[in-house]
C-alpha cells in the first residue's frame, strides 16, 4: 500500500494529476475512521489528508469556521465549544458503532454527511457547509460557495460534496456554519410505549409549536443489554421515548411543561436536564445500543431514512421479520436496525420495506465479504442513477477518486 501524506492543496493537485496520468485510482482518507463504510475500493494508493489539519480562521461573531479538511473533528469541537458554539447538525461519531479508534476529520464528517438527532430541526451537514476548496478529478483546484450564510452565486456545489463519500473531489478546505449552543436542554421521557404509539407521540410533539429538537424511541428490546450513556435510564428495560427541548432556560422549561401536557394521552412524562439529557442524546446520535463492543456488536447494522410517520410500521415489521432490533430517531424518520448476521444482510427485506414507503437504506456495518455481495448504498431508479453517474463524471471523468466505494463490482 502506497500512502501519500499531502501537506497542502498543491500536493493534492499533484497527486491527483499523477493518478490520472498513471490511471491509478486513489483512496481518499482523513483519519480513516469510516473506511469500513461502503464497498472495497479498487485501489491500493491512499491519499492521506490528515496533515492538512489547520484551523484557517474561526470567527465566532460571524458564526463561521474555516478549516482544512484533515482537521480532527474532536479538536474542532473543543475549539468551538470554548466559544459556546456547536455544529447544529450534531455530527455522528461513528467510532463506537464501527469499532474504530479514531473519531475522524472535518473532511470525513462532510463527505459522510451523517447528521445526528437535531437533523429534524437544524438540517444536515449539507445545510452547514457554506463553501469549499477542492481538487476535482481533473486535477484542478476549484472553489465553490463562500464564507457567508446567504449566498446564491453560482451552482451550490457544496450540496453535492456533502455526502459524496469522496467520490467527486478531494476537499482541501471548508467553511462551516457554527451556531450558539443552547443555554439549556430538557428531555421528556415517556416509558413503555410500543413503536406505533411512540411514533404517534413523536408526530404530535414535532407537529406542536414547542420547537422539539430531538425525537427518538428506544424499544424495550434495544435496552436488553447495558448501554454506556444510558445509565439508569434503561432501568427495568421499558421502552423509552425521548423528546428534547432546547433554548434559554425559562423557555426550555416552559415548553417542556406544555409538551408534557400535550403528550398526557401517551402517559406521564418524566424530565431529565442538561448533562443527563446531553448524555442520552449522544447515546442516540452514536447508536450506542448497537456499539461494536456491545452485545449486538456482531450484528449487521442498517441506517434507514423514511417519511417520519411511516417509521414505526416499517421498523416493527422489519424487526419481527428478521429477529433484529431497531432504534428510531428523527421522529421515526431515521431507523437504525441491527439484524442477526446473514449472508445477504437481510438486504432484500430491508430494501423492499424501505422502498414501499419511499425510504432508502444504507448498510452501515457489515463485514467486507458481506459488502461484496450486498449494495451498501441504496440502489436508485435508473434515471436518477444515470444522472448521478453523469454528475460524478463531470467532476471525475477517469474515476480516480474513491473508485468503487459507492457501488459493487468496480475493478482497478
Amino acid at each position: 500500500m502506497d500512502t501519500l501524506k499531502v501537506r497542502d492543496a498543491k500536493d493534492v493537485e499533484e497527486v491527483v494529476r499523477a493518478a490520472i496520468a498513471n490511471e491509478q485510482p486513489l483512496e481518499i482518507i482523513g483519519h480513516g475512521s469510516k473506511r469500513g463504510i461502503g464497498h472495497a475500493m479498487a485501489t491500493n494508493a491512499v491519499l492521506d489528508l490528515s496533515a492538512l489539519n489547520a484551523v484557517t480562521a474561526y470567527e465566532p461573531n460571524e458564526l463561521i469556521v474555516t478549516l482544512q479538511a484533515g482537521a480532527p473533528l474532536a479538536d474542532v469541537l473543543s475549539l468551538i465549544d470554548a466559544k459556546n458554539q456547536q455544529f447544529a447538525f450534531e455530527p455522528m461519531d461513528t467510532a463506537p458503532l464501527l469499532g474504530t479508534p479514531a473519531r475522524g476529520t472535518i473532511g470525513g464528517m462532510i463527505a459522510a454527511g451523517l447528521a445526528g438527532p437535531r437533523r429534524i430541526r437544524a438540517g444536515g451537514a449539507r445545510d452547514h457547509l457554506l463553501g469549499a476548496h477542492a481538487v476535482s478529478g481533473f486535477g484542478d483546484s476549484f472553489k465553490t460557495g463562500g464564507k457567508v450564510v446567504k449566498n446564491v452565486t453560482g451552482y451550490d456545489l457544496c450540496k453535492l460534496l456533502a455526502g459524496s463519500w469522496g467520490t467527486l473531489s478531494v476537499m482541501t478546505e471548508v467553511t462551516l456554519k457554527v451556531m450558539p449552543k443552547p443555554e439549556a436542554e430538557r428531555t421528556l421521557l415517556l416509558r413503555g410505549l410500543d413503536d406505533a404509539a411512540a411514533n404517534k407521540a413523536m408526530t404530535a410533539a414535532l407537529g406542536s409549536p414547542f420547537d422539539v429538537s430531538g425525537a427518538a424511541h428506544l424499544p424495550h428490546q434495544a435496552l436488553r443489554a447495558k448501554t454506556e450513556g444510558l445509565g439508569d435510564l434503561a432501568g427495568e428495560g421499558e421502552a423509552l421515548t425521548a423528546l428534547r427541548l432546547e433554548g434559554i432556560t425559562a423557555s426550555a422549561t416552559h415548553r417542556a411543561g406544555s409538551l408534557s401536557e400535550l403528550l398526557a394521552p401517551f402517559g406521564t412524562a418524566t424530565l431529565i436536564e442538561d448533562a443527563a439529557s446531553a448524555a442520552l442524546w449522544a447515546t442516540i446520535r452514536d447508536v450506542l445500543p448497537f456499539a461494536a463492543d456491545g452485545a449486538l456488536g456482531a450484528w449487521q447494522v442498517w441506517r434507514i431514512v423514511c417519511p417520519p410517520a411511516s417509521g414505526a410500521a416499517l421498523g416493527t415489521q422489519l424487526a419481527r421479520e428478521t429477529g433484529g432490533d431497531v432504534i428510531y430517531d428523527w421522529g421515526g424518520g431515521l431507523i437504525w436496525a441491527a439484524l442477526p448476521p446473514k449472508a445477504d444482510a437481510h438486504g432484500p427485506a430491508v430494501r423492499a420495506r424501505a422502498n414501499a414507503v419511499g425510504g432508502h437504506a444504507m448498510l452501515i456495518r457489515a463485514a467486507e465479504d458481506i459488502r461484496r455481495d450486498v449494495d451498501v448504498f441504496h440502489p436508485q431508479a435508473p434515471g436518477i442513477a444515470a444522472l448521478s453517474e453523469r454528475v460524478r463524471a463531470s467532476f471525475d471523468p477517469k474515476t480516480v477518486l474513491n473508485r468503487g466505494r459507492l457501488s459493487r463490482g468496480a475493478t482497478a
Binding site: 459556546n84 445545510d127 472553489k143 457567508v148 446564491v152 410517520a309 444522472l387
Partner: protein
C-alpha cells in the same frame, strides 16, 4: 441592452410557424401564445430594465406536456427559458428572441398536505404565500418568505433558492425543500427525494435548488412546513452612527441570540420609508435596526429584554418595543415598503444584492458612500443585517442620458467591494443576466468550468436558459477534455508511508 445574449439561431427563427404548429399539437388551445400583443406580458421579469419578446410562449398544464415540449425542442435545437411568476430580480426569466418561453403558471394545484410528515407536495406555479395559507388552519406555515411572496411561485423559489427576512433563523429555500419532480431538457421525467429528511446518493435536490432554471424544469415540489411560533415581538432601535448599529448586530449574535429577523436601514432609506408609510421612524438617526424575536411568549419577553440591554450598551438613541401585533406590523411596514418608498423619491432605482461578513458592514457602507460621490448618484441602503445581505438601492433617472450606465457601474463596484470584503455577488436574487458578467470577480475560469460541467450532466446541448449565470459559454465536449499533465508519478517530496 448592455448584456450580450447568445446569438439568435436564424434557422430556428425561419421555422417559427412550423415550430408553433408543433407546439400546438402538444399543448392545445390557449396554451400557446404567439401574437406580439399577448406575448408582451412575458417580455421581462422583475428586472424590468431588460426586455425581449420570446419567439413563442407555451403554457403547459401537465408534466407530460412539459416533457413533450422539452423533448421536441431538444430534438429541434430550440432554446427554452422557464418562467414561474416572473418576479426574478436578476433577469432569470428574460426571454430569448429565438427561444420558447415555458411558463409554469398553470401548475396551480397543491397536490397533498401531509401534517403527520409535516410536508406539502405542490405544483410549481403555486405562490409561496398560498402554501402558508393552505396550512394556516392547522397552525403551520412555510418558512422562507421572500418579499414578493404574494406573487412569486414556489417553482421560482426553488430555481432561485429564495430567501427572505426570516431566513437567518429558518434557512433559505434549499433548507426547506425535500424533493421534486423535474423534467430534463431531454424530456426525461425524474423524481428526486420525497417526504424523508434526506435523499440517497448525491444531493441532486441541493444542486437543483438555486440553479436558476439551467438544469431542468421543476413540475412538483415537496416542502417542509413548520408550526408557527406562538408569538413575535420586535424592537425598533435608532443609532447616531452606522458603526454602533453594526456593533449591536454583532453583539446580539455574539450573545447567542438568533432573531427571527434583524433588518437595518440607513438614513436615506428611513426617510423614504417614513414619508411613504408614516410608521413613526426616527428621522434624525443614521441607522435603524428592526429586530424581531419569535417563539413562546416567555422566551420572547426575555430575549427582548436581553436585546434591549445590548442595544442600550451600544449607544442606541431611540428604542421602541412592540406591545401589540399592530405595533409590530407598523415597525415592519416601513421596511417592507422600502422599495416602493424609494421608488417615490427617485424616478428609477437599481436594487443590488451582495452579501458581506457582518463585521464588514461599516466598511461597506463607507465604500458605498464614496462610490455614490464618485458616480454622483444617491443610494438608500436596506440590509438583512443578521446575515450580512445588503440591498443598496441606487437612485437614477433613466430619462437622463448616461444615468443608467452610471448606476450600473456604481452597482458593479458595490458588488466588487462585497467580494473584496470577503462576501459574494448575490445573497438571494440570483445571478441571472444582471450579475453574469461579474462572475469572474468571484470565480476563476477553473471554478466556472467546473460549474458548467455540471450543467452538461443535465443539459448537454446547453439549450435550457442559455445566457444566464455564466459569462462565457463553452461546449460540453470542450469542458470534458482532460488536460494531460506530466505523465510521471512525480511528487518526490511528498511523504510516503
Amino acid at each position: 441592452m448592455a448584456i450580450m445574449m447568445p446569438a439568435s439561431d436564424q434557422a430556428v427563427l425561419a421555422r417559427r410557424a412550423e415550430i408553433i404548429a408543433a407546439l400546438r399539437a402538444i399543448v392545445p388551445g390557449e396554451g400557446v401564445i404567439d401574437t406580439p400583443a399577448e406575448m408582451r406580458a412575458y417580455e421581462s421579469d422583475g428586472l424590468t430594465a431588460y426586455r425581449q419578446p420570446p419567439m413563442v410562449v407555451v403554457l403547459p398544464d401537465t408534466t407530460e406536456q412539459v416533457s413533450l415540449v422539452l423533448k421536441y425542442c431538444a430534438g429541434q435545437n430550440i432554446k427554452v427559458v422557464p418562467r414561474g411568476s416572473g418576479t426574478s430580480l436578476s433577469g432569470g426569466a428574460l426571454p430569448l428572441e429565438d427561444g420558447v418561453l415555458l411558463g409554469l403558471g398553470k401548475f396551480k394545484r397543491i397536490r397533498e398536505i401531509d401534517f403527520d410528515n409535516r410536508v406539502v407536495v405542490t405544483e410549481p406555479g403555486v405562490t409561496n404565500l398560498a402554501i402558508s395559507q393552505a396550512v394556516a388552519h392547522a397552525g403551520f406555515y412555510y418558512a422562507p418568505d421572500p418579499s414578493s411572496q404574494i406573487a412569486c411561485s414556489i417553482g421560482g423559489n426553488v430555481a432561485e433558492n429564495s430567501g427572505g427576512v426570516h431566513c437567518l433563523k429558518y434557512g433559505m429555500t434549499t433548507n426547506n425543500v425535500l424533493g421534486c419532480e423535474i423534467v430534463l431538457m431531454s424530456g426525461e421525467i425524474l423524481r428526486i427525494g420525497g417526504k424523508g429528511c434526506e435523499n440517497p446518493g448525491y444531493d441532486l435536490m441541493g444542486v437543483i435548488t438555486g440553479s436558476e432554471g439551467l438544469l431542468g424544469v421543476i413540475t412538483e415540489v415537496t416542502v417542509r412546513i413548520l408550526q408557527k411560533p406562538e408569538t413575535a415581538r420586535a424592537l425598533m432601535v435608532g443609532f447616531a452612527e452606522v458603526e454602533a448599529a453594526g456593533e449591536c448586530v454583532a453583539r446580539i449574535i455574539g450573545a447567542g441570540i438568533i432573531p427571527g429577523g434583524m433588518e437595518m436601514m440607513d438614513k436615506p432609506a428611513i426617510h423614504a420609508a417614513e414619508a411613504f408609510v408614516h410608521a413613526g421612524y426616527p428621522l434624525d438617526v443614521e441607522a435603524l435596526l428592526i429586530i424581531e424575536l419569535d417563539g413562546p411568549k416567555i422566551e420572547v419577553d426575555e430575549l427582548i429584554a436581553r436585546v434591549e440591554t445590548i442595544a442600550r450598551g451600544c449607544g442606541s438613541v431611540t428604542l421602541q418595543i412592540s406591545n401589540s401585533e399592530a405595533e409590530r406590523n407598523l415597525f415592519w411596514a416601513g421596511r417592507k415598503a422600502a422599495f416602493p418608498a424609494v421608488g417615490r423619491i427617485s424616478p428609477d432605482y437599481l436594487c443590488m444584492d451582495g452579501t458581506i461578513p457582518r463585521g464588514a458592514l461599516p466598511k461597506a457602507l463607507a465604500r458605498i458612500r464614496e462610490l455614490g460621490e464618485k458616480y454622483q448618484l444617491g443610494c438608500a441602503n436596506v440590509f438583512h443585517a443578521g446575515d450580512g445581505n445588503l440591498h443598496p438601492l441606487i437612485l437614477y433617472d433613466a430619462n437622463k442620458p448616461g444615468e443608467i450606465e452610471r448606476a450600473e457601474a456604481f452597482g458593479a463596484d458595490i458588488l466588487r467591494a462585497c467580494v473584496e470584503f470577503g462576501g459574494v455577488l448575490t445573497g438571494e436574487h440570483g445571478v441571472g443576466i444582471e450579475k453574469r458578467d461579474l462572475m469572474p470577480e468571484m470565480f476563476t475560469e477553473i471554478d466556472l468550468n467546473q460549474q458548467q460541467r455540471l450543467k452538461c450532466a443535465f443539459d448537454a446541448q446547453g439549450l435550457l436558459n442559455p445566457g444566464k449565470v455564466f459569462p462565457t459559454l463553452h461546449r460540453c465536449a470542450e469542458l470534458g477534455r482532460m488536460h494531460v499533465h506530466a505523465g510521471k508519478l512525480a511528487f518526490p517530496d511528498i511523504p510516503r508511508f
